[in-house]
């Protein structure tokens, strides 16, 4: 049989088999029951409603919508219906009158379709079964038979959000969905309430109804008769008409009490083309810019023009199918939860702007003339987003005691703050009588966030770059945060470029480009000419590397003591503070030629924020360079020989290394054993080292380079190489004892004899020998480990010398991310050292 023949064979016989198997394979023995029905099974849905006699409107509704046959013959259906009295109550209600509907006849077909189809659920389901998904998950929300295209709203320009994106519709009425995803029904059924821990009190607050244990509600509408069994489905009778409520965004826009908040929120939406009818009519949907906090894949971060959105909310408050998380393999996330928004009413919004300097909103009041319309978009977006909670279930009144906002701060909301609440089809809106400002604004980040002249650092702290905000949010910590306004974010001497060719060594000027992204122009240090632009963003980009270095350099963690000059920053860099009384007036990084003036100070919940007029620059000199500068005439660039012997020993013992790993390179050299931290290097005078050599406290370089064996050593079979190695090891251990963990600066943190570990291993304990340090602001005195068995008072002390200004010499070893410094573009690791000349050598044995 040919290939084609096989296909024909299968085609022919498959059809025959399908027919045969369909006819015979499933023949069962119950066919005689097909015309039977159990006694308890009622009539079909349509007849049931008709026979009741009090459901004439609903029967009429079914007829008008063309569903008569469906409700008579087709199974299986679940229908939420209402009796005539419920209709009449609606017709005479304020809601009915507001909608212009005072009789059934006044209901347009679109409204009838909406009412019917949003009440229909596929398959016949009891209330208990409706509480679960097909896979057994609890079903808090579900879609109905209603399709968004059942009714396409025509929206006049006056009803649209007022922002520039809608200006093209001036004086027009256009078809526009408030969101083009399916609508959902919210099920407050007993099983659901129990599983979601929605208490009766919660229900009372959010719907105004205190439910009985077995009561079931759709939105806020009570099911007064449930599980009515019909031949082709189940019926559940509602106590009110089931018009699906607005989504949260619609509700907020339509509620005049929430107008001020809405004006802020509506800055962040735009119309988007949904579809074009065959006749060319364009149908739009309204979408809000959002960062998709819940990672559902529905972010909207750029506008119609491809530009960055003016601000991002946590999520789109109009999204009908809102989901508080990504879908799982077991369940659509929208079925499990919905959103919640805490929306301050107009009065609360106005009260927040207060000229009382002690009030929460004072900074904003001052910055923006007490006018919300002047609040810039980025701040407005922060404010609106902070009133958004991802999860309704986590925002129930019973959770208020421990509720946190999406930044992790406690929310400070109480039941008494709720003015009213509204259950929308995608979330709950609490109208509240207070503003819940983003608590980042209370932290040391606050001034940076508010000040429109501080956009670069504000952006640098955020998720796109350094993610520094997560540290500064720690409200129980204390920070001293030195911030540089945009105008001073320039002349940053790029440490990485110091390994490049002279012409490529650069300063960077930071700014925001047209897309509101951080960018830097590079200027040659040699010529001052522009030599390029760096816009390598992202959390692992080159810009982030530099900005993180700056933020680390400008952040002190912990308290400061008035008068104390030197501190160690979060990034381990020494930073000098200048004081007038109890006030910090200026700061200086070791790499700054002059101090940076403090121009403003803000006291915040977790510390102080200081404006400075420049970038605090860490040291640009390595430990190697610092020593070499005083290493004598034989070393290029040396100005004197005061560190000569110490330098020579370090050099000969291989303490200066260039390539820590095969993929990294020090800018010039780094100290082999110092890693990303801060250290102190004690440099004995040449005389002290020579004396130690003379006294045989350590092998001399000469002795190592000119090894001779004693007769005893020869007799013992020791080789010259072995002896040289042994001497080298001894000298190396000796010299390493002068490198100490933690930078102790004169006029730095006061210490009173505390032990700091050196770099020399005590081989009997496998721990490192300590050095005991005293620093009182006027001197540094060291006690070494020699004669450790004696009381501290009887042991040798060694003083830091200050006479030649060879103390507090700041250095930084930098390792970059390539084996060749000219190819490097980021800092890989670094270590800071402070060097002091000392009067004598330190001994550990």
């Amino acid at each position: 049989m040919t290939h084609k023949g096989i296909i024909l064979f299968f085609r022919k016989w498959t059809a025959v088999m399908v027919l045969l198997l369909t006819l015979f394979a499933c023949e069962d023995h119950f066919s005689y029951l097909e015309d039977q029905k159990p006694d308890w099974l009622g009539d079909n849905i349509y007849n049931y409603l008709k026979d009741r006699g009090d459901c004439n409107y609903y029967v009429q509704l079914i007829d008008d919508c063309g569903y008569t046959e469906t409700m008579q013959k087709t199974g299986s259906n679940t229908l939420f219906f209402s009796a005539d009295s419920t209709f009449e109550r609606y017709f005479s209600s304020d809601a009915g009158r507001r909608a212009g509907i005072t009789s059934y006849e006044e209901m347009p077909l679109s409204m009838k379709l909406l009412l019917l189809r949003s009440s229909m659920v596929s398959n016949a389901q009891l209330i208990e079964r409706l509480s679960y998904s097909d896979k057994g998950g609890i079903l808090f929300r579900r879609t109905t038979m209603m399709d968004i295209t059942d009714t396409i709203p025509l929206v006049a320009y006056e009803e649209m959000p007022k922002n520039a994106y809608f200006s093209e519709f001036m004086d027009q009425t256009v078809p526009m969905f408030m969101d083009a995803t399916q609508w959902t029904m919210v099920q407050f059924f007993p099983e659901v309430r129990q599983a979601k821990k929605i208490t009766d009190d919660d229900m009372q607050i959010i719907t105004g109804i205190k439910p009985g244990e077995e009561d079931a509600y759709v939105f806020g509408s009570k099911i007064i008769h449930k599980d009515i069994t019909c031949k082709n489905g189940y019926l559940h009778e509602l106590g009110s008409l089931l018009f699906p409520p607005d989504n949260m965004a619609e509700y907020i826009r339509r509620n005049p009490d929430l107008n001020t908040f809405n004006q802020l929120m509506d800055r962040f939406c735009q119309p988007m083309l949904f579809d074009t009818d065959p006749d060319g009519t364009k149908v739009y949907q309204l979408r809000y810019f959002n960062r998709d906090l819940m990672k559902t894949g529905r972010s909207l971060t750029t506008d119609l023009n491809g530009k960055a959105a003016p601000g991002l909310l946590y999520y789109d408050p109009g999204w009908n199918l809102y989901a508080a998380s990504a879908n799982t393999t077991n369940q659509n996330a929208f079925e499990m939860d919905m959103a919640a928004m805490f929306v301050p009413n107009n009065e609360a919004m106005q009260d927040y702007f207060n000229e009382d300097p002690s009030s929460e909103g004072y900074d904003l009041y001052v910055a923006f003339d007490g006018d919300w319309s002047k609040v810039p978009d980025n701040i407005a977006a922060d404010f609106v987003a902070n009133h958004q909670k991802a999860s309704f279930i986590a925002s129930l009144p019973s959770q208020f005691e421990t509720i946190k906002d999406e930044a992790g701060y406690e929310m400070e909301i109480e039941k008494e703050n709720i003015v009213s609440s509204f259950v929308g089809r995608n979330g709950l809106v609490y109208t509240i009588n207070k503003v819940l400002p983003p608590l980042d604004y209370r932290s040391v980040m606050g001034p940076v966030k508010i000040d429109q002249g501080m956009k670069i650092l504000n952006m640098a702290m955020g998720d796109t770059y350094c993610q520094f905000q997560y540290y500064l949010r720690s409200l129980k910590s204390t920070f001293h945060f030195f911030v540089t306004p945009d105008e001073y974010m320039k002349d940053y001497i790029d440490p990485v470029s110091m390994g490049h060719a002279t012409s490529r060594r650069a300063t960077w000027d930071f700014y925001l480009n047209a897309n509101s992204a951080i960018q830097a122009t590079l200027y040659s240090l040699a010529t001052g000419d522009s030599i390029g632009i760096n816009n390598s963003g992202g959390t692992s980009g080159q810009l982030t590397s530099r900005l993180t270095d700056i933020l680390n350099q400008q952040t002190l963690v912990g308290d400061v003591v008035p008068g104390q000059e030197w501190y160690i920053t979060k990034g381990f860099a020494p930073l000098r503070l200048f004081w007038e009384g109890n006030a910090i007036t200026a700061v200086q990084g070791a790499g700054n030629d002059q101090a940076l003036q403090v121009t403003k100070v803000y006291e915040k919940t977790n510390g102080f924020t200081y404006y400075i007029n420049g970038i605090a620059q860490p040291s640009r000199t390595s430990i190697y360079q610092t020593l070499a500068r005083h290493a004598g005439a034989s070393v290029a660039g040396s100005v004197d020989d005061k560190f000569k012997l110490f330098y020579d020993i370090c050099n000969e013992m291989g303490l200066f290394i260039a390539s820590p790993t095969s993929t990294t390179r020090a800018l010039d050299y780094k100290i082999d054993f110092l890693n990303q931290f801060h250290y102190t290097i004690y440099v004995p005078t040449n005389a002290a080292i020579q004396k130690a050599w003379d006294e045989g406290l350590m092998p001399s370089l000469d002795a190592i380079n000119n090894v001779t064996l004693t007769p005893e050593e020869e007799a013992a079979g020791i080789s010259i190489v072995e002896k040289a190695d042994s001497l080298r090891s001894k000298l190396k251990r000796f010299i390493r004892y002068h490198f100490q963990d933690y930078a102790v600066c004169l006029k730095g943190n006061e210490v009173n004899g505390e032990p700091y570990l050196s770099a020399t291993l005590n081989e009997s304990t496998n721990k490192f020998f300590p050095i005991y340090v005293k620093q009182d602001g006027s001197s540094i005195v060291l006690t070494d480990y020699y004669n450790a068995q004696k009381p501290m008072s009887e042991r040798q002390t060694v003083r830091v010398l200050t006479s030649d200004d060879l103390y507090n010499l700041m250095a930084r070893d930098i390792v970059v991310n390539a084996s060749n410094t000219t190819a490097a573009n980021k800092i890989e690791t670094y270590s800071y050292g402070v060097l002091h000349q000392i009067e004598d050598v330190l001994r550990f044995e």
Binding site: I7, F10, R11, W13, T14, M17, V18, L21, T22, A25, C26, S133, K135, G136, G137, I138, E191, A195, A324, S325, T328, N330, Q331, A333, M336, D337, S391, I393, A394, T402, K404, E406, G408, Q467, Y470, Y471, R473, S474, K476, S477, V557, K570, P660, F673, N675, Q676, F677, D741, Y742, L757, A759, L761, T765, N766, K767, F768, V815, E828, T829, Y830
Partner: protein
């Protein structure tokens, strides 16, 4: 081509439709789906021996159990055993309620399938409890005497290890039965612990151990992500209470001069006094010496002897681990665990081999596990269980005295965080063994007294994963997920000055940034648990010794190393400066055996396992502490263990 698929697909669909409508039960003789026989066949073929058990099962309408697939272990009583039981009880089986009848039957079954374990043959038995409870939730205990295994001390296996398709049958000569006692009643009725029974009444501790189950606990209906529960993924079925008594018999107490309650009072007073504590008169007060002495003998969890010390993952326990000589016999390597007791401020230390409260080390004193120089269990008189507890008998007098406080517990106290969650042990949430990817237990909000968190579905929840192949302490995972705020009440810890550390596992893809608080004080700035230990901010290096000798670079994916720092002492110091420490070298994950084909690395050699130094704290009294984790950036976190290192011992600390 697409059309061919449709055609062929249609053909197979037809076949499926056709076959699906055939009565699958009616396979006749033409189909053999398995070899061997079901347990039901075995009973049916041996009616002369087992007809009565079959009859009972049919009467209880559970006989189909024996026909179903599964991994059952059935301790099958013979007809004689059952008849003798009826006579001595005495009882008429036909008058039993359905519930009673099922209880009688199910007492003889262990359901391995449901519990992600196995059907047990006698090769699996060890002295102690069979790891999986029987079908009424009680442990069965095995002991080996006279070259024969016994169940619950007295029941003999007359024909064991009969392998069936759906399990293993052990024919036994007596009916297995449990008691319905509560723990104090069991202690009293046993007859060997009359002094403790008396003391329990005098101190009021009797009344504290009368609960069986928290009836208010409602098992959630679905998992946090809304999925239905399964055998693998579920919340605990119930919340039962459980206590473990570690008791000396009257005769052992007498050897220490304690012959009546007054003697016990006097002894307790003396011990208490040496601790410098002020005694109160009211014996019902926990600060009373007698109360303290007695309460110290009770652990608020149901702990069988075989799980008293978890050895899972320790390098000494793996035959394949190649560096035991380097690590295990230096006198500092130990396997030990700590149990908080009912006496406030106290811990029991227990080492491998169930050696209690000793500074001696069984790894360098091989005979210690059988010596009467140290406190240990008398196995033949242990694992006596009841509805809400279990009794183990000690060979020597145990007390929380100055030796325990100042010597035994003056060491690095490393405790998995489950130590403080006894509810998880009592209610079989903790799996003591490798149930890789088979055992995910979600922890309900409010389930554990010492664990405070707020579940926010679907993203914020706590879950426990059974031990697997990874190099975590004990191999298992207690995990917080999402934007959580979790507080553990930990301890008690003896007074003193400690460096406190938290052990965790890095995961760049899933962890968050976490602010840790100890006793409500922030422990520095938040920790980025996404950060690889190889990053400059941590600076982890592989020990060159491992690279040189054991291809250790591969263990940490070609991490940097320092040839001049072979054992990593310098690197240890360096990363300590940044508040981190490498993980201990005392345990290992089996994944390294499987993945790398060499068996020398430990958790210390993993660049993903770290200890974060929370700070140095001085405790002025023996008390509990709070350890709080607040996510600043959402993500999950492995709450592995906490360490308390006395600062005066820092200079002597090993890498274990």
């Amino acid at each position: 081509m697409k059309q061919q698929f449709f055609l062929i697909g249609g053909f197979f669909i037809c076949l499926f439709l056709w076959t699906s409508c055939v009565d699958s039960d009616d396979v006749g003789d033409a189909y053999t789906t398995f070899e061997g026989q079901m347990i039901s066949n075995y009973l049916d073929n041996n009616t002369e021996q087992f007809s009565e058990f079959s009859r009972l099962m049919k009467q209880a309408d559970v006989y189909n159990l024996l026909k179903s697939y599964g991994k059952y272990t059935l301790f099958l009583p013979t007809n004689d055993a059952l008849f003798e039981y009826y006579e001595t009880a005495p009882l008429d089986p036909d008058t039993l309620s359905m519930k009673e009848l099922k209880k009688l039957i199910y007492y003889h079954f262990i359901d391995g399938e449901t519990n992600a374990s196995k059907a047990y043959n006698t090769y699996d038995f060890q002295v102690g409890a069979i790891p999986t409870k029987n079908m009424v939730g009680r442990y069965l205990y095995t002991n080996f005497e006279n070259l024969q295994w016994h169940i619950n001390e007295t029941v003999n296996i007359v024909d064991g290890d009969l392998e069936m398709v759906n399990g293993i049958v052990h024919v036994i000569d007596q009916v297995l039965k449990g008691n319905d006692d509560l723990l104090p009643e069991l202690i009293e009725s046993d007859g060997q612990y009359t002094l403790y029974a008396e003391a329990l009444k005098a101190t009021g501790l009797w009344d504290k151990m009368l609960l069986i189950e928290d009836e208010s606990y409602v098992q959630p209906k679905t998992l946090p992500n809304g999925a239905p529960m399964s055998q693998r993924d579920k919340y605990p079925d119930s919340k039962k209470y459980g206590w473990t008594a570690l008791l000396e018999t009257d005769s052992i107490l007498a050897l220490h001069g304690i012959e009546d309650l007054d003697d016990m009072r006097a002894y307790a007073k003396e011990v208490y006094g040496k601790l410098g504590k002020s005694d109160v008169d009211d014996e019902r007060d926990p600060q009373n010496s007698l109360n303290h002495f007695v309460a110290y003998h009770f652990i608020p969890a149901f702990v069988t002897t075989d799980i008293f010390v978890t050895t899972y993952g320790y390098v000494s326990e793996h035959d394949w681990f190649g560096r035991k000589e380097d690590i295990c016999y230096d006198g500092k390597y130990t396997i030990e665990q700590y149990w908080p007791t009912l006496a406030p401020g106290t811990l029991i230390q227990c080492q491998k081999g169930n050696l209690i409260n000793t500074t001696r080390n069984p790894f360098v004193e091989p005979g210690l596990a059988n010596s009467n120089d140290v406190i240990r269990f008398i196995h033949a008189e242990s694992n006596k269980d009841c509805q809400n507890g279990i009794v183990h008998t000690l060979n020597r007098l145990m007390a929380y005295d100055d030796y325990v406080e100042y010597q035994v517990l003056h060491r690095r106290l490393r405790m998995e965080l489950r130590t403080f969650l006894p509810e998880l042990i009592t209610n079989d949430v903790i799996a003591f063994g490798n149930k890789y990817n088979q055992w995910h237990r979600y922890i309900p909000e409010g389930y554990c007294e010492n664990l405070e968190f707020k579940e926010e579905r679907p993203s914020v929840y706590m879950v426990y994963h059974a031990a697997n192949v990874h190099h975590y302490l004990y191999g298992d995972e207690l995990e917080g997920n999402g934007f959580f705020d979790v507080t553990f009440k930990i301890g008690p810890i003896p007074a003193g000055k400690y460096e406190v550390r938290f052990g965790y596992h890095v995961s760049p893809g899933s962890r968050g940034i976490t602010q840790i608080y100890f006793d409500d004080q922030p422990c520095g700035i938040p920790v980025d648990m996404r950060l690889s230990a190889l990053s400059g901010d941590i600076g982890w290096q592989q020990d060159y010794y491992m690279i040189e000798n054991y291809n250790g670079a591969q263990l940490a994916r070609n991490a940097p190393y320092n040839t001049e720092d072979p054992y990593g002492f310098e690197n240890d110091k360096s990363i300590r400066n940044r508040n981190f420490m490498k993980a201990p070298d005392s345990y290992v994950g089996t994944n390294w055996r499987n993945d790398y084909g060499h068996y020398f690395g430990t958790a210390r050699n993993s660049a993903l396992d770290l200890r974060y130094i929370l700070g140095t704290y001085t405790f002025t009294e023996n008390t509990t502490h709070s350890l709080r984790f607040v996510q600043m950036l959402s993500g999950n976190c492995l709450f592995d263990y906490i360490e308390f290192m006395p600062v005066d011992l820092l200079n002597e600390e090993d890498q274990h």
